[in-house]
Each structure stands twice: as C-alpha cells, then as structure tokens.
Amino acid sequence: MNGLRVRAVRLGKYFLCAIAIVAFTVPAVHAQKPLKIGFSMALTGPLAQAGKGALLAMQIWAKDVNDGGGLLGRPVELVYYDDQTKGANVPLIYAKLLDIDKVDFIVSGYGTNITAPAMPLVIDREMVFISLFATAVNQHFNYPYYFQIMPAGPNPVVDWSAGFFEVAARQNPKPKTVALLAADAEFAQNAVDGARENALKHGFEIVYDQSYQMGIPDFTPIVRAIKARKPDIVYVMSYPPGSVGFVRAAKEVRLEPKIIGGSMVGLQYTSIQMNLGPTLNGIFNYWFWAPEPTLNFPGIEAFLKKYQAEAPKQNLDPLGYYLPPFAYAYLQVLQQAIEATKSTDQKTVGEYIRQAEFETVVGKVKFGPNGEWARSRMLFVQLQGIESHEMVEFTKPGKMRVIYPEKFRSGELIYPFPGWQ
C-alpha cells in the first residue's frame, strides 16, 4: 500500500514536470503577443480574383510560419481589409491598421493604384513597405524603405520589355518593323513607353503605335489596321479581357507577323489558357513563373501544392502561377529580414532589406536603391506544343519555354511565328 503511494507520488511528480516542460517550451509561441502584419487587398471589384489568390498565398505563408514556431517566437497574425480595388479606400485602411489595430508591419495590396495612395502615411510613419506588383511608384516618392516584389528591374518601365526586344534583335533574318498596341490604362501606358524606347534602341522602325479604349468588345478593326502596316513584330500591352479579344481577332484576321506577343496580362491565368488552348502556341509573352526545370526554386513546389489543394475550394486560379508565388515571396522577404535582425524596428528591418539577398519561392531577390529588384528578372516565354484545352496541359514542362533571360532559358524561340493553330 505504502509502495503504491510512493509510486503514485513519483508519477505525479513526473506528470507535473512534463506539464511544466510543455508549458515552458512548446506553447511559448502562443503565449506571446501576435506579430501583426496589416494590408489591404482587393477582395471585391475588378482585381478581386487576383487579390483573393494573393490572400490565400499570404495565409499559407502565415500558417507555414506559425507551424514553424512563429516569428521571433511570436505567432503571426494577418490583419486585412477589402479595399474593393479602389484607391480611395486605401489611406483610410492603412490609418486603421496603424492607429487602431496597431499592426507591427504593413505590406501593400495588389497593384499600382492601391499601393500609391498608402505612400504618404507610410512615409509619415517611416514604415517598411513591401509592395505587390506596383509599377514605378517609388520613382515619385524616393522612400528608402519601399520595396517591390515584381521582378521588373531597377527601371521597371524600360526593363519590363527589354528582354523581348533583345531576343527579337538576335533573330535571323532580323525583323525590321514593330507595331505597338496598348490599352489606355496605367500599366499598359507605362509599358508602351518602355517598349518604344527598347524598339528604337535595337533599331526597329515603329510602323504602328496606338492605344485602345479599355472594354472595347471587338478588336477586329484594330487588328486589320495593324495587318495593313505589315509589321514584323506585334507587341501588345493589354489586360485579360483585351488579351483574349486581341488573340481571337488576330487568329480570325490571320495576323501572322514574325513575332507576336509582348505584355499581354491574362495569358498566364489558367482559365484563359484553358479557354484559348492550342491558339496560344507561338505567342512570345512576358511571364513571371512557369513549371520549367530552370525555375524550380526552393520551396515553390511545396507552396504550389498547398495553394492548389485549397484554390479550387475558393474558386480561384487552380494553378496559381502568376501572382500567388510573389504574394508568398514578399512576406518571405519580411520574415527573413525580421529573423535576421531579430527586430521589429522599422529602420533596422528596412536597412537590412536594402542590403541583403533573400531566398524565396520565386528565386533569389535583391533590391536596388529605389526598392525595385536590383536586376530585372522578367521572363519571356514562348508557348509551344499545347495540344488541348485541358488544365493538365499547362502543368507540364515544355509548354511555356523560357527564352529569356539566358540564365533560366529552357528552350529555343520558334522563329518566325508558326501561324495560328
């Protein structure tokens, strides 16, 4: 009986020790005050589909970090509000994040017109601010702690299309004339300025240079006008509905220059790829990531696996190659900077981001003095060998051949454009 009591007391002691160990080690993360990261995101409005995809990627990042013990031993918490894709909502949201929610860090929502309105408050509070796909915002503010995750390069307007024209100039026989077509909206108008500069730099003659109004239902007259000028290269800067409209019209009118493509946003979206299928073959366009062996960065596969498991449930882009990896990556940059400096001080973290290089799911990222990528890593891919409209078609390597830059090249450009299929 006495022995039993001794054993019970001993067991009790072990039990209490075990509880103490658990209490002081494992749940330490959850006992800490959360590290809050605030942002606005387009969850409604024209960019909602992309914004929701970005949010999912950010939530995956938060879960990954928390599963790994948090940041500086603190669990991370995302605090976000729907900006409705309206810039007018942005100053208000960031004021709430900073003054009411008291977040530790802020990052931007999606796009230029969502990022720029936050800048005065960001500068006023001297916050680190990493933005998601904003074009050349810091050219106007020159703020030292602004960083931008889109790999457009130090001079985004010009660097954006540099690779396209460099590849075009290398072809034999060298194309001579260029037609430029741009939507009359922010990104496309910035891009066309750069395209113009790059075309002239490589000695191409611009034979057509026009803008089209957003939302036009039929591109046929425009495509006919381009065809009449017989350009060797057609460089188009369009948004998703315009990209689809242009490709369909070009196929119908048989506009078949030596190179066709450029900066058509939307061709990277799975739904549009499935919609256009083999029609995409031969198009030479900018890209951010593709399932090519040369782009197999550490962590990208694991991230996409998690994203692709969740995306169909939320009716999002099922493959998520365009924006989501970068939405994950810009938080990785912040995470690595906080971990390296062991600090939440904005200046310390900001200075670290300015000089360090980061290993992310979209590759190695280093920022230049203006907060853009120190060197452009705009990819130009040619769509090749697409045989059907099935989604699986776009998950295989060899369908989006990286032609530029050389470091990530995974195929050769089929030149001249083989014609519409």
Partner: protein
C-alpha cells in the same frame, strides 16, 4: 433669429473641427471623417440641382474629377497653395456646369440624366488622352513636407473640409430660403407653370447647375493631397454619382439637412462596413438602404421625422 442661430451653429462646427485637431492624434479619425465631409459636400451640391430643381444628375464624378485634376495640375506645375486650388477647382467645375447646363438643361427627365452620364465618360476620356494630366498612367501628387498650424497635412485637409462643408450647407440653406430656391422649387413642381408665371426657367436651371458643379469641384480640389495618386477611371467613377444621389434620397431631397443626414448615415455605414464586414456584402449596403428608404420612407429621413412629428401633434 433663425439666421443668427444657424450662423452660431456654423461657427461652432468650424471651431469644433479646428479644436479637434488639437486633441485627436489618431489619423484614422481624420481619414474617415474626410470621406464623410466629402460626401456631405457632394450630396448637398447634388441636391441643389437634383433635389431643389428636380434634375437628376449622374455627372458628379465628372465635376469632382475636373476639380481634382485642375488642382492636381496646379500642384504639379505651379505648386499653388490649397486655397488657390479650391478656387481653381471650383471655377473649372463651375464653367463645366455652366456649359453643360446650357447645352443639356433643355432636355428633361431621363434624357438629361443620360446626358450627364455621357459627360462623365467624355471628361474621363479627355483626361486619359491628356498627357499633361497624367493620361491613363495617372498623376502623382506629393504632399508638402511642412505644414503650419497643424501637426500633419491630414489635419489641415480635415480642417479645410470642415470649412468647405459648412460653407456648402450654409449656401444650400440660403438657396432654399431665397427667391432663387423658390424659383427652383417652382421649376421642380411644374416647369411650364413656372415659366408662365414669369420664373426665368432656363436662367435659374443654368445657375443651379453652375452652383452645383462649382461645389462638387471644390470638394474635388483637396482630393489629390488625400489620395496622392489619381488615375481617371477611379477618380471619375460612377460610385461617386450613385452615392451622391443616394445620400439626398435617403436623407430627404426637400431640405438642406436631408443630404447632410444621408451623407453621414450612408458614408459612415460604408466605412464601418469596409473595416468590419470586409466582403462583397458591404457593396449591398447602398442598395439595401436605398430600396428600404424608397419603400418605407419615400421622403427620406427628414420626411420620416416630419410625419412622425405630425402624427404626434395630431
């Protein structure tokens, strides 16, 4: 006596607004109140043509946008101070109101409304094709680093909007209680009868459109400093037209207080929804409130209060 009471109220509101900047440091307060004040001005301005005169205007975005772009141009090219921006923004939109009013106020009912909607598209297209205004690429506006009397620029913008809002509401009250307002009411009730009784119909309608446009332009003038980046499609938006129409309808179009109440209610609700619901549902709010008020209180909040008061006295 009533005039004196309103004057005291106006002075109190302005002094109160200025005093708040000395005590409240929370920037969220200034950002959110700025939007409410902006809508008080826009709704009151809309009501001068839409409520008093009975001409439904869908062109609020164009007047507001023109005021904002005029100010943006003057900031980036001449760095003019805020008061000059307000004068310039108001003047440019007044000229637009005068021109559009003269051209379109012979149209009636839905035809006039369609013309104002078309005007918004024309102004947006003009800006898209004007490189001096940033075109489709947009225009960046940097706030001055130094600001006198206030601890930051947002407080100055808030104080400016308080003064403009009080001025706008006072002007609406004055119009409502003057020969001008009575003429507009006569036009609203029966244009032909008003003309037969010697009311200078076209002149009053054009004056009403000019005043309404000028006030909307004034509301737009400080906006470049608020937003820092303007591009035509979001600055000249239909949302603004719908909101500035819905607010007087919810508050009541017959009196100066109606648009103020409607703007406070709707704008505050929208802002609370933005940072609480944070989903598609917040876009439903305007619609639900509008439908609800049209069914339950067709004369707006003011009409509802008046009928309740009447029932009690009866």
């Amino acid at each position: 006596m009533k005039k004196a009471a309103l004057l005291i109220l106006a002075v109190t509101v302005i002094s109160g607004g200025l005093l708040l900047t000395a005590y409240i440091e929370n920037q969220y307060f200034y950002f959110s109140t700025y939007i409410v004040l902006q809508y008080i001005i826009l709704a009151t301005a809309w009501n001068i043509l839409g409520g008093y005169t009975g001409y439904v205007n869908f062109g609020t975005g164009a007047y507001f946008g023109l005021g904002a772009y005029t100010a943006g141009y003057l900031i980036t090219n001449f760095n003019l101070p805020l008061p000059w921006l307000i004068v310039a923004g108001g003047t440019s939109s007044a000229v637009l109101g005068l021109a559009i009013g003269y051209l379109t106020l012979r149209l009636k009912g839905v035809y006039f409304s369609i013309a104002t909607l078309a005007m918004s598209i024309v102004i947006a297209t003009l800006i898209i094709n004007t490189p001096a205004l940033g075109g489709a690429k947009g225009m960046y506006i940097l706030r001055p680093k130094e600001v006198s009397f206030f601890s930051n620029y947002m407080e100055l913008l808030f104080a400016t909007m308080v003064i403009i809002a009080v001025f706008t509401v006072a002007l609406a009250w004055f119009i409502e209680n003057s020969w001008f307002g009575r003429g507009l009411a006569a036009i609203r009730d029966d244009e032909v009868a008003a003309a037969c009784n010697g009311v200078p119909v076209l002149r009053l309608k054009v004056l009403s459109a000019t005043t309404s446009g000028a006030l909307m332009g004034i509301a737009g003038a400080p906006y470049p400093y608020y937003i820092s980046y303007m591009e035509p499609l979001s600055t000249i938006s239909l949302d603004m037209a719908v909101n500035s129409l819905a607010m007087p309808l919810i508050g009541g179009t017959g009196s100066w207080i109606g648009p103020v109440l409607g703007a406070i209610l709707l704008s505050t609700t929208q802002q609370v929804a933005t940072v609480t619901i944070s989903s598609e549902y917040n876009l439903l709010i305007v619609g639900i409130l509008l439908v609800g008020f049209v069914i339950l209180a067709p004369n707006g909040l003011v009409g509802l209060f008046q009928s309740l008061l009447k029932r009690r006295t009866d």
